[in-house]
Symmetry: C2
Subunit: 478 residues, 2 copies
Amino acid sequence: MTHHDDAVAAFTQLLGANGVITAAADQERYVRDWAGARLGMPLAVVRPRTTEEVAAVVGYCHRNGICMVAQGGHTGLVKGALPDSRTPEVVISLERMTRIRGLDPLNFSMAVDGGCILEEVKRAAEEADCFFPLSLGAQGSCQIGGNIATNAGGVNVLRYGMMRELVLGLEVVLPDGEIWSGMKALHKDNRGYDLKQLFLGSEGTLGIVTGAVLKLTPRPEQSQTALLAVPSVEAAVRLYALTRRRCSDLLSAFELMPRLCLELAFEAAPQLADPFDEAYPYHVLLELTATGPVDLSGLLEGLLEAGMEHEVVLDGVLASSVAQAGQLWAIRESMVEGQLLRGEHLRTDVSVPISSIAECVEQATAEVAALSPTSQVIAYGHIGDGNLHINVLPPAETPAEALPALFERLERAIFTVVDGFDGSISAEHGIGRSKQAAFLDRLTVTERRLLAGIKAVFDPDDLMGAGRIQPASERSSS
Amino acid sequence: MTHHDDAVAAFTQLLGANGVITAAADQERYVRDWAGARLGMPLAVVRPRTTEEVAAVVGYCHRNGICMVAQGGHTGLVKGALPDSRTPEVVISLERMTRIRGLDPLNFSMAVDGGCILEEVKRAAEEADCFFPLSLGAQGSCQIGGNIATNAGGVNVLRYGMMRELVLGLEVVLPDGEIWSGMKALHKDNRGYDLKQLFLGSEGTLGIVTGAVLKLTPRPEQSQTALLAVPSVEAAVRLYALTRRRCSDLLSAFELMPRLCLELAFEAAPQLADPFDEAYPYHVLLELTATGPVDLSGLLEGLLEAGMEHEVVLDGVLASSVAQAGQLWAIRESMVEGQLLRGEHLRTDVSVPISSIAECVEQATAEVAALSPTSQVIAYGHIGDGNLHINVLPPAETPAEALPALFERLERAIFTVVDGFDGSISAEHGIGRSKQAAFLDRLTVTERRLLAGIKAVFDPDDLMGAGRIQPASERSSS
């Protein structure tokens, strides 16, 4: 028996035959991510049902020097969860760990397994008249453990924060197989270094999140959604400040979309109607939500008036029903699909100070135009977070083999613009493998030393998530 | 010249004579904290004016194996900033680093020096029609760098989070004297391990915070303050849930105070009038704030009605002016002074799930009564954070020399009760030296290894803040 056969036999003994997948055909859905990317084939895919089973598998890998990667819903966009192409890894899928462990409405908290699908978490919260705020396009398939490992963002960050601000407690299987139990349901706990914060955003390189205590809010009882036409990006930024100042902390989403976004949405979903008679250059999709007797529609109408008076709003559609609000959100969501329909394109996920958004978009657009005059820039995103997806649709006639080099040049140019505003080259997607070179390029020697040092404290043999965020250690091939 | 004389000469050369204090009399205010505690005398007190000067001092200490401790406003309550009594430390005071570096109202952010007094930060924000939410009793003297190092809390945490959630960027002098510049003004930045999170709450053991970019909100334009009488702690908890559900996210503070709190406040500030005709068992001081045209007084009146209907409110005083609101807050603040006037007493700072608060107070009160029947328990705090200060006023006749042993027994009993609810023995004050034994007792071997490992990555020689949070390394006396 080879080393690998031994491992498969051990996993089968630990998890049962049903818990281990070795046939290449059955592994297919574990080796390809949402965007269609794939790298290598795993040593095996294992599907533990409990934290103890995760710990047993990880412990075995640790003792035997086997590399491993945790896998959630496979909706990440930086190739972090894909099994490696050089060193065979064990894929540890959390898909069978989907229990809601408990919900405490008086404490506004719920405890869940790491494999729970985000949408199920949100539904369970709603059934208890509560609300779990994390909202993103992939919520029907992403897992909460993955959301935690990648510190997920989405459309409600401006009000509720990223995943980091929505976690009260964590349970993590460490790279040596020990279970770290930090499942406290406390809103305040200030004891020394907060290990929880390190696991959040570590992309599975310091441990595997098997459970979490999440922070809930009361379920919003009313919401107001509007799609506003604005003359420029700069006007959208000024409208954001106005909205914050007029609507207290009741603003939940504030999404910028240029005209091209609407057109892409209509291409992907022809049943959607254009809510405007005119083609305006930019739009803002905003949502106010509240619990209790707040006059939300009055607030929104007042905002619209003030926006027109300040000449930052040209026109607007206020949703008069939940269905109509859904139609407006469908534009935002279909637009992502519309980009895919146009074929391969460059996606970025950058952030700058909110006050620099307009200038950043302008400069990035100019840089792209200089490099590739017939490419189309589509800059949309979360104004309240300073987070833009400055994407580029290449000219239709570009040969497929020329795309990678073109995208690399364009990405480099956009990142240089972002550097000029002291921005970030990864605002919410994380680093994984895709952003690693750009990430490392921007670190000092000291920063690299600190990151490597932290990794070594948790995983001295570099067996867990090796090669994500930081380069993998040199090792002899197995 | 001794090793110490050399150091003083070097510091004088780096900072000028004005920047170094060696006379014991002049050092007095750097060796005694707000609560009057003192431990040892420092090797010297240094007062750098810039980040570069901090780096130069730290670099010298690093090269010469000299211990150092950063010092802010000296308002911490866990003896973290006091110079050590065994190994002479250099006290690095940030008191001359008080620049507001810049404020960006469109980005809702401001950059400040680490030595800025919290109240000055709040004032500067207000001058730009913005708001920095951190609010605590010591805000007139605590420094923002200290607030960051200790991840400070206060009365507005339920709405705005602890210091951790109010920091966008940091500048830190590392224990080897290198300057780590993470002064980005980004609301979203998701690049690998977030070093910033490690410095937050590390109590000066991983680096010295010399600058920060803080997150602002729009300045509240209106507020409503009320002091409500409630029949029990359990009713206060139910009232909290009701308030969250009726007042959207406009609730800024929700403070529990038993009757004894009011009496202590009136002892400390006899000019304060008792707003009630009757002596009720418990009170809630709550505040709603908003920007924009929200009918806040309508919300509060509705809440009061609903509270009475649900029998969780017995009586209430709504402040009809800013001055009257100030009077109600003065009760909350004078109560702390009132405890001091009663002499030495046991202070704790614990948290439990909000839903366990009532039972926790009941059990803790019973435990104290069993150990010391004539002691008075005073349990007050931040309901929305599950954070209670369960303090104990000992019998007046207790001899001073008997107090430490009594407090130790009582604290141990209260902490055991808190453990029963899977709570925290330090919700907001941190660990420092005072909480270290109780903190370490509750860690697993793995947790101790991880914390020591992290410290060693940043400060392998254990020269910075040694002995805070974790025990100091063994070293030969200098």
